[in-house]
């Protein structure tokens, strides 16, 4: 095995991780296979379905289209890192449960990342803005309806929390 390895240092869900990785290792394979953070899913490996979405420095990206090496020096958040500091579900995660915004759950981590990315920058999105924000994430189960409902619900709950 003569593949050359490159050192990387990435903050993943608040924990500093160091590794030596081959140049061709994708970010999603590193997260899933090496760090065993299997919440992030692989759907198409060509950047269309969005199942592999993670946050890179707070913005949603496709981890199948990035090499692990490209994340060197950056901050990555996966679905496992979305929970509140005490380990309980985030408002968005809880709203997904309340609105039954999922069925098989496979696209869900990517949907949560995309929706959280929206809520981080736009706390009161319209239906159309929600649809646009998750427009790059394919779901085959829900027809998106209950996902839109869940994001609306989360936005409303979060704005009430902020107000109080």
């Amino acid at each position: 095995m003569s593949e050359e390895l490159y050192p990387i240092e990435v903050e993943v869900n608040g924990v500093q991780r160091t590794a030596r990785v081959p140049a061709r290792l994708s970010l999603v394979d590193w997260l899933r296979e090496d760090l065993r953070l299997t919440g992030t899913h692989v759907g198409c490996e060509h950047g269309i379905c969005g199942a592999c979405s993670v946050m890179l420095d707070g913005e949603p990206v496709r981890s199948c289209l990035m090499f692990a090496f490209q994340a060197n020096g950056h901050r990555v958040t996966t679905v496992e890192g979305l929970a509140q500091p005490d380990g309980s579900m985030s408002v968005l995660q809880d709203s997904f449960c309340q609105a039954h915004a999922l069925q098989c759950g496979y696209c869900t981590p990517g949907m949560l990342i995309a929706a959280q990315g929206l809520l981080n920058t736009n706390p009161r999105p319209t239906d159309l803005q929600i649809r646009e924000a998750i427009g790059g994430n394919l779901c085959r189960c829900t027809g998106y309806q209950q996902i839109v409902d869940a994001v609306k619900q989360a936005a409303s709950r979060l704005s009430k929390e902020t107000a109080s």
């Binding site: 759950g105 649809r131 427009g135 085959r140």
Partner: protein, 795 residues
């Protein structure tokens, strides 16, 4: 209707959602056994060719490679996969031997330390091919003298029969009018976001093959064992693997036999996870690819007298269960209408394309599309309102149970009311005004209506109908309910789930019967050696079958608790009242044994147990499909599925004439699936089914080039609707309980998908109508619509 229930029909959080939103699902690709090796596949670039030679030397010498397996060894040491119809010469293995029959067919499997190394080595496998003639078009495949996909079979036809139910020729002779047209359903599929994946491990001491797979398939453990020439109890399938979507297609039996063989041969765990191209090209999961030659006989008042339907389905290069997808529609061949004379000629034909697999509705959605296009065409020819035509022919509420010409009895329904409710919710008169104003403004606008059935409950009657040698007449399911010493309840089911929420279903039903909070009930997926008989979640059957089985098992527990109380109170069970798990004497509140006390007796106090009752507290219930067990008559009449849900779709569409881009501006679906056990789950599946139907009707196609190559093997050319294509959908519920099921429930796993393509096709045609144009081929892509519009406006 649902007020009589405590938990059924209520909004409640599902049991499954929390693990999925926290990233704690456990899918096939998450299974990581120590020492696992990885498979990469070598696929045929030819649609039809002879394999002259395979050189594996370079691949075997590559870093990390354990073995390279080809068809010669594999086919000699395993048995071929199951074929649904009587076609024993259409043999199918995971790896090609001698010839390849479609582009993408697997020729060799490379096993290496990592997936990347296996893929590197797969590129080093040298295969020399000699091209052979091929056929892509199903009509060409039917023509005499055509290249035979399986020469030993002697024909490209896998199945053909002409059924005549009722006085068809008389109906056509006596009718005022007739029409004929062809409707074509494009090759698409369910295409879950998770591809198929499987890991297998062989224990040589126990002689046991453990399998973890993203599977939704009846008889999967049995078929795996049979193909590997192992006893059935040497294969243990772990059904606690979460399946990332299936909707019918996750039947990776060939993958499993291959990986099982490799695991046994190499003595290490072996895993195969399809990449997207493998999934779409060699994963053998394409759906129906079907055209219908339709003839309808009808009177000037709109009465449909008879229908002739010739359906030709292109199943690709191998059979599997796919020809049976022409069989299920027999159970709803007249749709929701009173049509007394029907001729049906299903033909299943092979071509050099990727094989077909079961897709949501098992062939019913294409059939509904053809029937609903016929209804609209009849209305148009008569100058009659499409809704009035449907109202005239719909089976009336007072006619149930209603026996259709092909032998199935519809259980219950109120089709007129559901249609009315959907129309009302759509604001139909305003919708018509909106359409007419859009047209006046020069836009292409149309309204589509479709009324159709969702047969549910799953039954294997089509197996025997299409293959007299296959005497499958039961399609049972089961559940075990256990109450432990602490009084906690566990439900055990024997299949995996792919998003249907079965843990929620079982806990809701058991909670309902035992009057215990479903949130406290745990539901587990037993492995195949621990499980009771199941036929997996196919055919919209789990609400009926698993729900019925769970209720049956829970009732046994309840009866046991009452019997224990009766014994201790020395009274008759009739004198007792069961409430919240406690059992007391009617009218004497102080005379009561609590749940905890009863459980304690059952587990520990044999001296307080009534004679004849087993200690411990568990019960199992195996349920046969209601109305099942029938054998077809000589002329092919048989009771197919037990329950029939109904849906009425109303859609408003506008098409951009310059680009052909359609946009759905309004979508209403009236839906009656009887009593909904979990409304949130039913609604979710209906939304998803409609979205899938939007894909099948407007976007999704496994297109083939003239030289036999799949042209849509990625999500950049196989277009799955996103949140921007799927509109806001309004579902209107109605409830006509089924008289055949435990709570009045019907199935709903295929809801929405069964009517959406028909309704959208009707809306598109309504929009094209002012141009004098029409289109009856799915998918109605932007390009196809643009071409239709351009042609019509130039004329």
């Amino acid at each position: 209707m649902t007020t009589q229930f405590r938990y059924i029909g209520k909004h409640r959080r599902t049991k499954e959602d929390p693990r999925f939103v926290t990233g704690r699902g456990r899918y096939a690709a998450d299974i990581a056994l120590p020492g696992t090796k990885h498979v990469a596949l070598v696929a045929s670039p030819h649609p039809s060719a002879r394999i002259v030679s395979i050189s594996t030397d370079a691949a075997l010498a590559a870093p990390g490679v354990l073995t390279v397996l080809t068809g010669d060894e594999f086919c000699a040491r395993t048995d071929p996969l199951y074929v649904g119809v009587d076609a024993p010469k259409v043999t199918r293995y995971a790896l090609a031997r001698g010839v390849v029959r479609y582009a993408g067919e697997w020729v060799a499997a490379v096993v290496a330390d990592t997936r990347a190394l296996a893929e590197d080595a797969a590129e080093l496998v040298e295969v020399e091919y000699e091209s052979l003639p091929f056929v892509i078009d199903p009509e060409a495949a039917l023509a005499p003298g055509t290249h035979l996909i399986h020469p030993d079979h002697g024909t490209n036809v896998l199945y053909r029969r002409k059924f005549v139910w009722g006085p068809v020729e008389e109906a056509f002779a006596k009718a005022d009018h007739q029409l004929a047209f062809r409707a074509t359903w494009g090759r698409s599929s369910t295409v879950p976001i998770e591809t198929f994946g499987v890991t297998a491990r062989w224990d040589p001491v126990a002689e046991l093959l453990d399998v973890w797979a993203s599977i939704q398939m009846p008889k999967y453990p049995d078929q795996t064992a049979r193909a590997l020439r192992l006893p059935g109890n040497a294969v243990r399938v772990h059904f606690d693997v979460d399946v990332g979507g299936s909707y019918g297609v996750k039947r990776g039996i060939k993958h499993t036999v291959l990986v099982g063989y490799l695991a046994k041969k190499l003595g290490v765990p072996v895993r195969l996870i399809e990449d997207r191209l493998e999934n779409m090209r060699g994963g053998d999961m394409h759906g129906p690819d079907r055209f219908f030659d339709m003839q309808v006989a009808f009177d000037r008042d709109g009465t449909i007298r008879g229908m002739k339907m010739r359906a030709v389905d292109d199943v690709g290069a191998y059979a599997g269960r796919s020809p049976l997808q022409l069989g299920k529609p027999v159970g709803a061949i007249c749709g929701p209408y009173q049509i007394h004379a029907i001729e049906y000629e299903p033909t299943s034909v092979m071509t050099n394309k990727t094989p077909q697999e079961a897709v949501r509705g098992f062939g019913q959605s294409p059939t509904n599309f053809a029937i609903e296009r016929a209804m609209d065409r009849v209305a148009r020819q008569l100058g009659m309102d499409r809704i009035e035509l449907r109202r005239k022919n719909l089976i009336r509420r007072d006619q149930f149970p209603y026996l259709i010409p092909s032998g199935s009895s519809y259980d219950s329904g109120d089709y007129h009311t559901v249609l009315d409710k959907a129309l009302e919710a759509s604001g139909y008169p305003a919708l018509v005004r909106m359409r007419d104003e859009a047209r006046l403004a020069g836009r292409l606008a149309g309204i589509g209506v479709a009324t159709c059935l969702e047969p549910s409950g799953g039954n294997a009657s089509f197996e025997l109908l299409f293959n007299p040698k296959n005497e499958t007449t039961t399609w049972m399911d089961s559940c075990l309910v256990r109450v432990d010493l602490s009084g906690s309840i566990t439900g055990v089911m024997g299949t995996s789930s792919s998003g249907q929420g079965h843990e929620t279903l079982v806990s809701t039903v058991v909670g309902e019967i035992l009057e215990r909070d479903p949130a406290t009930i745990r539901v587990i997926h037993a492995d195949s050696l621990n499980a009771l008989p199941s036929n997996s979640p196919v055919g919209s059957r789990m609400a009926i079958m698993l729900g019925g089985a769970a209720a049956g098992a829970a009732r046994k527990i309840r009866d046991a608790l009452v019997a224990i109380a009766a014994h201790n109170f020395e009274c008759s069970p009739e004198d007792l009242e069961y409430r919240d798990g406690n059992v007391g004497i009617k009218g004497a509140p102080s005379k009561m044994l609590s749940w905890d006390q009863l459980v304690e007796i059952a587990h520990r106090k044999f001296h307080k147990m009534p004679p004849g009752l087993d200690p411990g507290l568990q019960a199992q219930f195996v349920w046969e499909v209601p109305t099942g067990g029938g054998v077809p008559t000589q002329d092919g009449r048989v009771q197919m599925y037990p329950c029939y849900a109904f849906e009425a779709h109303v859609v408003y569409v506008e098409i951009d004439p310059d680009t052909g881009k359609p946009s759905i501006r309004k979508y209403v679906c009236g839906h009656d699936c009887g009593v909904m056990i979990s409304p949130d789950i039913v609604h979710g599946m209906t939304y998803g089914g409609i979205a899938h139907g939007i894909g099948a009707s407007l976007y999704e196609k496994f297109a083939y080039t003239e030289d036999g190559q799949l042209a849509s093997g990625t999500f950049m050319d196989y277009l799955i609707p996103s949140s921007m294509e799927v509109p806001d959908i309004h579902i209107v519920d109605h409830c006509t309980p089924s008289p055949l099921t435990t709570f009045g429930q019907k199935g709903s796993g295929e809801a929405g998908y069964l009517g959406a393509p028909a309704a959208i096709a009707n809306a598109i045609n309504d929009a094209l109508d002012p141009l004098g144009a029409s289109i009856d081929t799915l998918p109605m892509s932007h390009l196809a619509l643009w071409e239709t519009i351009t042609k019509a406006t130039k004329m």
